[in-house]
Structures are given as structure tokens and as C-alpha cells.
Point group: C2
Chain length 227, copies 2
């Protein structure tokens, strides 16, 4: 099966109170998402619609307010744990693609945001969809950022191969693929940063529909070897 | 532009000495990769073709031999730095999808492997391609593994937005996307683990062709805050 990733183009600049599901519905006509598709949405438009924008000339104080715990500091950058449990730079506070002296915060509950958008689109389209809300995070041992899932609805975030056997009959011991993050990464291939493509529709991926959430992706601090 | 990810199906079980480029060429006819496509190849078939398979009933001793430095141990698992500089579980030594009492090691120089396969396919197809050799790595703060690039040829591993401005004229300060890892992640959406799909062709991605290598993705230990 071929996987297709299509950009959602022509979305307007998002303002507080906007109905993101409706705007995506409008933008994707006449080729709306189909049954089983996953829509990946950059958190920035979700945050803006939810009014998660604050005035700040410098994002650092806001990053600290948004952090549950600071892990490391390096120059201007703070690596911290957000209230959601995500470990990322500057608690996800972002100064790009927002007007003037404002910064965009992460949604308060990205899984809830994803569920709301999913219900809205299901009603408008009459199909079953998955939703992934994404952000770009850095990695401790690899340079560059990649797009990851910070909220999901309608899909299981993992494909779990534990207990399954390979072609040679050997048990696959510890293989659990974070498909939610891979969907987010695939969407980035059509999004870019400066182009106004804050969402993408992924069709045909090996994804399992269900009730999973992105909070399941957060490794419990008790299992964390590197904090 | 829509991105397409197509599985490469029907590859035979790979043995030492096999010509991976030729086998991919044969497997993709009559719909061969086109100019500007990127082929993502699971390292396992590259390692097997290069004879990087050793006898072992237990992969732990091999993992230690393959490690340049052990970072953490937890039960049966070792988190270590490979000789290439990659930080991953068990130095990338893998006991799945290989016959009997054998384990598969990482290629000695995955960038070189990628360059060889690229040259071979360029000669056979007469088109310019990118190659990504992938493995699935865990992440310290997120559960599950994702597919990442351990070797590349023909592409720049990053899309660098530093110094560019967003739609509001604000400079994008520190955004550098690791597109090589996102291509690897997108390919996983058609690969799966037990299905015999060890390669995928990605068309239409926002990728820049060039002479980059996956060693550029390794964060220098001097900039590592979490080792």
C-alpha cells in the first residue's frame, strides 16, 4: 500500500476562538480526508485558536513559567519538562510565526484538543479519522529537530510488535514503534517552516485506530535513565 | 506537492555479497524510482549484504564489543555509543529477522554503504536519487522507537531555516529540521517489522540534494548536555 501525505493549503491566519476543524474541512474541499486518514496539525494553529498566546519580548521567562522542571540550561536555551511531561527546549514556547511581541505556548491538553478536532471533523465529514497534534523537538544525541506527536485522538500511538515473531520464528522482544511520532515526521515532509502549511493529511499508513493518547508516549520518570 | 511513500516489495532474503542496489532495481520494476526520489533502506539488509552478521546466542557480549562507550545499563539493555557516534540500545546489534543463532551488526560505515548503493542505482536507472539507510532507535524521554537515518547519500540531512524569516518577518532562530530522520520515519509507515518490506521509495519530499552525510547528525559530545 502506498502512503500519501498531502498538504492542507490555504488555511487563514488563525485567531483565538477559531474552529480549527471547520477551517481544515473548508481548506481540504473538494478533496476531503477519507475514512482511516490521519490529519497531522502543527500545534501552533491549535494553540492560537485556543488563545494560548502571550505577550513577551523574550521567551525565556515564559519558558520557565511553562516548565514543571528545568533539566538543563545552556546559554539562552532551557531544556525542561513541561506540565504534560514532554522534555523539550524552552518548554515548547515558540516566538516564530506569531505577530510582533508575542509567543505561542503549547495547548493546555493537546490530547483533548485533538479529540475535539476529531469529533468536529467526524461530524462534518462523516468519516473516522485520526488526529495528531505535532511540535518539533530536539534530541539529546542527534542534531536538528524532528516533528513529534504531542496530542493524538482516534489512533493508538504505538504499533506493538512485542510477543510477535519474525520471518524466522524468533520473538521480537522489545520492538514498539511510536507510529504517532512517525506520522508527525512524515507530515513535516510537506509542511516546511515558512510555507503556510500547518497541517497535512496522511493516507494509507500502517496505523491502528483506537483510543490512545499522546500522554502514553511520555516515558515515566521512574524509567528514565538520563534525566 | 503530495509526498508518496511506496514500499519496495518482493526482495529476496539477503545474503553476504548480494548487490542491494541491483536487487532494489529489480524489485521496483516496472515502476522504478524517479529523479529526485529518496530510497530508504533498513540497515539490516545492507548489513547482511556486507557480511555484518555474527554467531551469538546472546546479543549482549556482541553489543559490548560494538560499543565505543557504554552510557547506561538497565537489566538486559545497554545504552551505548557506537563507533559511529550513534547513541542507541545494544549498539544497534539486532537478533530479529536473522537465521538461528546469529545477530546483525550495523554497517561499518553506513554513509559509505549509502554512497555505494546510490552510485549503483544511478548507473542502473540514470536518475539522481537520495539514499537513507535506517535503523529504529529509542529515545530517552519518549517511549517506543522511531526509524532514523544512520547513513545518507545524495541529500543534505538537514533543512536549515536559521537566518530565514517567518511570515511575520521574525527571524527563525534555531530551527534546523533533520529531514533525513523524517524520511526514515515516513518510510516506516509502509515497512512494518514482520512484513518483508525492508525499503521504501519517497517521492516529492521537501529535501535538498547534496553531499551531506549522516555523521553530521551526530551531536558532538562537547555539545551533549545529557551524556
Amino acid at each position: 500500500v502506498t502512503v500519501e501525505v498531502r498538504p492542507v493549503e490555504g488555511l487563514p491566519e488563525i485567531r483565538a476562538g477559531d474552529d480549527v476543524g471547520r477551517l481544515i474541512y473548508d481548506a481540504t474541499r473538494p478533496h476531503p480526508p477519507g475514512d482511516g486518514d490521519v490529519i497531522v496539525i502543527a500545534h501552533k494553529i491549535v494553540s492560537k485558536a485556543e488563545g494560548r498566546v502571550v505577550t513577551a519580548t523574550d521567551r525565556r521567562p515564559t519558558s520557565l513559567t511553562e516548565s514543571a522542571r528545568v533539566l538543563r540550561r545552556s546559554g539562552e536555551m532551557v531544556i525542561s519538562e513541561t506540565r504534560h511531561g514532554f522534555v523539550c527546549a524552552n518548554a515548547g514556547v515558540d516566538a516564530s510565526n506569531v505577530e510582533g511581541e508575542h509567543v505561542v505556548l503549547l495547548p493546555l491538553d493537546p490530547d483533548l484538543s485533538a479529540r475535539r478536532i476529531r469529533l468536529r471533523l467526524r461530524k462534518l465529514l462523516g468519516v473516522e479519522l485520526g488526529i495528531v497534534i505535532s511540535d518539533t523537538f530536539g534530541r539529546p544525541w542527534r542534531l536538528g529537530q524532528t516533528n513529534v506527536a504531542i496530542g493524538t485522538a482516534g489512533i493508538e500511538p504505538f504499533i506493538d510488535y512485542r510477543g510477535m515473531t519474525d520471518d524466522f520464528g524468533t520473538q521480537l522482544v522489545a520492538t514498539r514503534i511510536c507510529i504517532a511520532d512517525e506520522l508527525a515526521a512524515a507530515a513535516e515532509l510537506v509542511m516546511g517552516k515558512t510555507a503556510r502549511v500547518p497541517a497535512a493529511v496522511v493516507s494509507g499508513a500502517l496505523v491502528r485506530f483506537g483510543r490512545g493518547s499522546a500522554t502514553e508516549i511520555v516515558r515515566p520518570p521512574s524509567e528514565d535513565l538520563f534525566r
